[in-house]
Amino acid sequence: MSASPEPVDLLVVGGGIAAQAVCEAVLERQARTRVMLVCGEPRLPYDRVKLSSLLAGEVDPLALQLRPDDWYADRGVEAVLGRRAVALDPDAGICELDDGRSISFDRCVLATGSDPLMPPLPGLDCAAVHPFRGPEDCEAILAAAAGARRAAVIGGGLLGLEAAYGLATHGCPVSVVHLMGHLMERQLDEAAAALLVPAMERLGVEILLERRTEEIVGDGRVEGLRFAGDERLDCDLVVVSVGISPRTDLAAIAGLEVERGIVVDDRMTTSHPRVLAVGECAQHRGVVYGIVAPILDQAEVLAAALAEDDGSYDGSVPSAKLKVMGVDVVSAGDPEGDRAVVAQEDESYRKLILTQGRATGAVLVGDTRGAELLVDAVRTRRAVDDPLALLQEASRASAGDLPDTAQVCNCNGVCKGAILEEIRSSGLGSTAEVVAATRAGSGCGSCKPVVAELLALERGGAAEEPAYLCPCRKQTREQLAAVCREREIDSVSGLASACGAGRDCGACKPGLAYLVSEVNGNRHREERHARFINDRVHANIQRDGTFSVVPRIRGGVTSPDELRRIADVADRYQVPMVKVTGGQRIDLLGVRKEQLPAIWDELGMPSGHAYAKAVRTVKTCVGTDFCRFGLGDAIGLGIELERRMEGLYTPHKVKSAVAGCPRNCSEAYVKDIGLVAVEGGWEIYVGGAAGSTVRKGDLLDRVDRQDDALRLSLAFLQHYREHADYLERTYAFVERAGIDSVRQAVLDPERQALLLERYAIAKAAADPDPWREGGDPVHPRQFADLDSEPAESPS
């Protein structure tokens, strides 16, 4: 092999989590190392763990990349994508790629990971038989699932169940076929595994235990599975998830010692001192690890070894914090030992396992409080006298009780001590900052509440809590949305009986009502006790208990006839004040509740939703209709935008404007959604504000046509409806999420199409004019107290 002229300091062969962890750990210690990263897949390192969420449609493919493109450029890491290393000569320090290129290196790290294990079954070559390992597999599985009558997942381990969950969320009936007597036997015992069954059944997942698959039946296309004993299952899609097979071919070519994996010592070094190995391809003390946490420990030691620092890897106690079928599961160490204590309730199971008086395993299902404490006990093999007391202590433990060594973030291997240290030394003040600085919470996110708690602790309780939608029950919007989806809940009371949210003080019920309506595309069961008084009577309550009436005047354009009716109503009902609002419409203030139905009837105009967390106004300027500077039809577009958005409820109010030129007379730059006509097209601004906060909107995009401006506005509206916290205005949401993430979500053609589809579903079911309840109330006393009666309209 002839080599490239300049040898690199470090050649990393891989492109998975392990390869990335090596780059990070090495550059952390020795920032000037010249690193070349050869990625076999045509993309930068990404988070394989999140593929499960990708399959379930919960994340976006773009969100998987571990670090942005700049990260590599900024650190001088040369990333070669879509190329495989095919030969390696450790003595000469040369590696050959599949395009014929040779790279010379000082040291080399193999992070080649593993292949999915495919058992030698007849029929394996049929179309629609897939492993579950990479993004391409997810795509293929989803494509096949779309037309499938039933999918079979071979393997009831963690990955198999995640595949089944993903398929089930897409409405595909699934059977999980497992060889053993219970699911996930590597992590769970029988009783714990049994708790997953009801959750699976709710999702329509069938479980077939103790089945040995002998054949995939089909002639080019899958028709079913045949099990030992000649039993058959009809299916037209098969996902195989029975284990991994470490990729050792390159190491073997290089003459390195290989058993099941590439053999490494306690310094992560292979049988050749110049080559190290890490991750799922490596075998340490006879063990190949198939989860992320050990990989991160290994990468740390590897970096130390390269820098000739101290440090040795003694193996990891495997631990994982997962969501299986929507149920929280934590497992650490070995599920079997010589003694165990169990605390079990209807929907939870907590078990601590001891061996010779030391903690060697923990299994938590459904209730994972205090997991960090128990996992730490297992990792340190703590001697335990009274295991039941420890189990109880854990369920009451707060972040403050954890030892500094306790690992808080399993995804990125960050312990409590490191988080506290970073908060102190960098003076961090928000959870988001701590996540960015330590990466704790940036993986699956399940440890974020603990991170927030640590921050609060460190700052004397002054830091923010996670944004709980139901503070009484400490439930976040994400958690509650998941409950709604998994259990197909369509009402606030349904949510209350599922998890208690909204029960205690009730103050969060309007937020829950919005959530339930959003998740169900407005096909929810409406319950008025969950709504703020404004949304029970469709008017804004005033300081003296009276109400205000603001009819919809789209785009601020009215007519003599409408104005006449408004004037007549104001006269007849002696409305104390008629005022032109800041939103280009007219407000009748000081109206009594009983008068509302009659006033609405006589106005004959629809509700302006001025009282609701909903789409409010679209202000316009005169634009090309009259203005000598007008570049675009601001009035026409504004009225159309209002029509397309009105009636939709939102996390907080949404106000828009359309301006005919950048002079911005309708204040579009400072609206939640603002459209500004420019030469040759339209600019779309989002996240603007000019209330208690003043913020110019971020430019979402510039488009040529009015239609496109409308489409982007609606896609943004839907994205906001789905992702903002309750009572979070767009100015806070866009600021928090970052305009780049908003752009990715709204401008990507596929995601945009899905957003618009969900928008259309929600809009079709939204009530465009709740004032019609004036003539058809949901309750005889909707607009009256016990001693008053609704006023009759004279018409």
Partner: protein, 110 residues
Amino acid sequence: MSGFERVGRVEDIPSLEGRAVTVAGRRIAVIRLASGFVAIDGACPHRGGPLADGIVGDSCVTCPLHGWRFDLRTGAPVGGGAASGVRTYEVLERDGELYVSVPAEGIEAA
């Protein structure tokens, strides 16, 4: 049943909502819980907000104007927001009719 005044029928108040009524010259909010009816002062001690229009939970009501919160059984303020409580009144339900008892001013215990 002395001292009780008829205020309406059971079906006049939807579940987990309240409606106001004046009894013996005093504005009262009658609220329907899953477990039955309760009655408290109709006006919030903060700035007179209509408590009958508040959001009702299992145990408390939140004023619609500025969010003061009161325990529905004792009338005591709940949480840090509210500075003082409200009075509670007995409600009787008989043959689908609702009755509230409002003691004459000055007689009730402090």
